[in-house]
């Protein structure tokens, strides 16, 4: 693994991995890796708290769910699934604040079993009504009314990004809304400073900068989200938002009949919601 990282030219990552404890045969100690991941994700949650990710999401998801409720009589309860939920901060915050209403079931899915286990334990410890499931974003174990995620899209490279959206588009879901780091020139510098100030472990600090460097552009996101039966939209694209105020912004995919009610529910904020045809103008 260290050789692979070195071959990719990521010497810092190689050094971080080399410093982790190994068992026999030079294999990383799985318990130490789990502990490290839980530790780094706990630090990561601090960033979500400080950047008020929950409120940012509700600002858009509230109107989106209002549009869903208004447009048809969807199956109840509505179900929100957070893909790549990590420690499930977003889902647990939504459960604790009841911000989306009592008719929304809250579920988190993540590929990492240790994180899912810890998310479930944390939810139980605080008596929160939500669930966490171990599963893969490309073969989602839970059906949803709306799929969301935060800070996950930059993990998916090449054709995987469009494949991720396509899987949700071909499910019965009515919408998806995935937040990721806004790809601006400032992002890597900002991520460096902010992760340095707020995270302790070198893994978290390094990942913060690498993630900002890998963030997908607005155009790439809209292109990838254009799946059959889906209207791709971007909220607060570059050129329409101050990069210091919007560090994470979402790409949405909604069933076309939801666009009008969503825009109505958003009111004035709907100016910030653009499709591929408007994005070209914004950037110009």
């Amino acid at each position: 693994m260290i050789r692979q990282l070195e071959e990719h030219g990521d010497h810092r990552a190689a050094r971080i991995v080399a410093s982790l404890p190994t068992g026999r045969d030079d294999v990383l100690d799985p318990h130490a890796v789990d502990r490290l991941l839980v530790g780094v994700h706990t630090e990561l949650q601090r960033l979500s708290e400080e950047l008020r990710i929950g409120e940012r999401l509700v600002h858009l998801l509230g109107p989106l769910l209002a549009a869903v409720r208004a447009a048809a009589t969807p199956a109840r309860p509505l179900r929100l699934v957070d893909v790549g939920c990590g420690l499930g901060y977003l889902i647990r915050w939504l459960a604790a604040t009841h911000a989306l209403g009592p008719d929304v079931e809250l579920i988190g899915v993540d590929l990492d079993a240790a994180l899912v286990g810890e998310a479930a334990r944390l939810a139980r410890a605080e008596g929160l009504h939500c669930r966490f499931v171990h599963g893969n974003a490309f073969d989602l174990p839970e059906a949803a009314t709306v799929y969301v995620s935060t800070g996950v899209l930059h993990h998916f490279r090449g054709p995987a990004l469009a494949e991720f959206f396509r899987a949700q588009a071909s499910s019965p879901a009515l919408a998806f809304c995935h937040y990721d780091i806004a790809a601006t020139r400032l992002a890597p510098v900002g991520a460096w400073a902010f992760h340095r100030a707020r995270m302790r472990h070198p893994l978290g600090r390094h990942d913060g900068v690498v993630s900002a460097l890998r963030a997908h552009s607005d155009e790439a996101l809209l292109r990838a989200a254009a799946a059959p039966g889906i209207r791709p939209l971007l909220y607060e694209p570059r050129g329409m938002s101050n990069p210091f105020c919007t560090t994470l912004r979402p790409v949405l995919g909604i069933r076309p009949h939801l666009e009008a009610p969503l825009r109505r529910a958003l009111g004035r904020a709907s100016r910030r919601l653009v499709g591929p045809e408007q994005l070209a103008e914004v950037v110009r």
Binding site: V38, G39, H41, T42, E43, Q45, R46, E50, L51, R52, E55, R56, H59, L87, Y89, R92, W93, A96, E118, L122, A125, E126, L128, G190, A193, F194, R196, A197, R198, M199, R200, N242, F244, C245, T246, T247
Partner: protein, 171 residues
């Protein structure tokens, strides 16, 4: 008025914030007000003990001086010079905090990203500026000594609280 009272107050408030920072990122629960208050009190307690170091240093300077009145005047001048950059820093922090808590999430993100985050990184620089202020205001070597000890003490609160109480994730 001697600058001692505002300096001690600043030091203690800073210690409480350091206690919070030592804890932040170690507790993934959602409701944690009590734990936050506890961490601030831990910072305050550690800070109160550590701030004895500059107090003792200043006391020693005064007791061993040939001319205590002159030594006192130098320390007072140095303290006033030390206070000025810190007052600017503290005002910026207070304004950023107010913006963070009061304003809607977009502006609050701005306050965090360009205010509170970088301000944490700038803490050692604020201490250096304060020491320079002490020198420039005619505080002399003794003020520099007391100021450096105080700066060191204040910067030590966060790592000590972190190592003592928050070395691993809170359960």
């Amino acid at each position: 008025m001697t600058p001692a009272a505002p300096l001690v107050t600043l030091g203690l408030v800073d210690a409480a914030f350091s206690g919070f920072r030592a804890y932040a990122g170690r507790d993934a629960r959602i409701r944690k007000r009590a734990a936050i208050v506890r961490s601030a009190l831990r910072g305050l307690a550690v800070g109160a003990v550590l701030l004895l170091a500059p107090a003792v240093t200043a006391g020693t300077v005064l007791l061993t001086a040939d001319d205590p009145a002159l030594a006192y005047a130098a320390l007072a001048a140095g303290g006033a010079g030390y206070l000025r950059p810190l007052a600017v820093y503290a005002t910026t922090v207070v304004l950023s905090l107010a913006a963070y808590f009061v304003l809607p999430f977009r502006v609050s993100t701005l306050a965090m990203v360009v205010g509170l985050g970088p301000l944490t990184l700038l803490r050692p620089l604020a201490i250096v500026a304060a020491c320079l202020g002490a020198l420039l205001n005619g505080g002399g070597f003794t003020s520099l000594l007391v100021g450096s000890v105080a700066g060191g003490a204040v910067l030590c609160v966060e790592p000590i609280v972190h190592r003592r109480w928050y070395a691993s994730v809170v359960h």
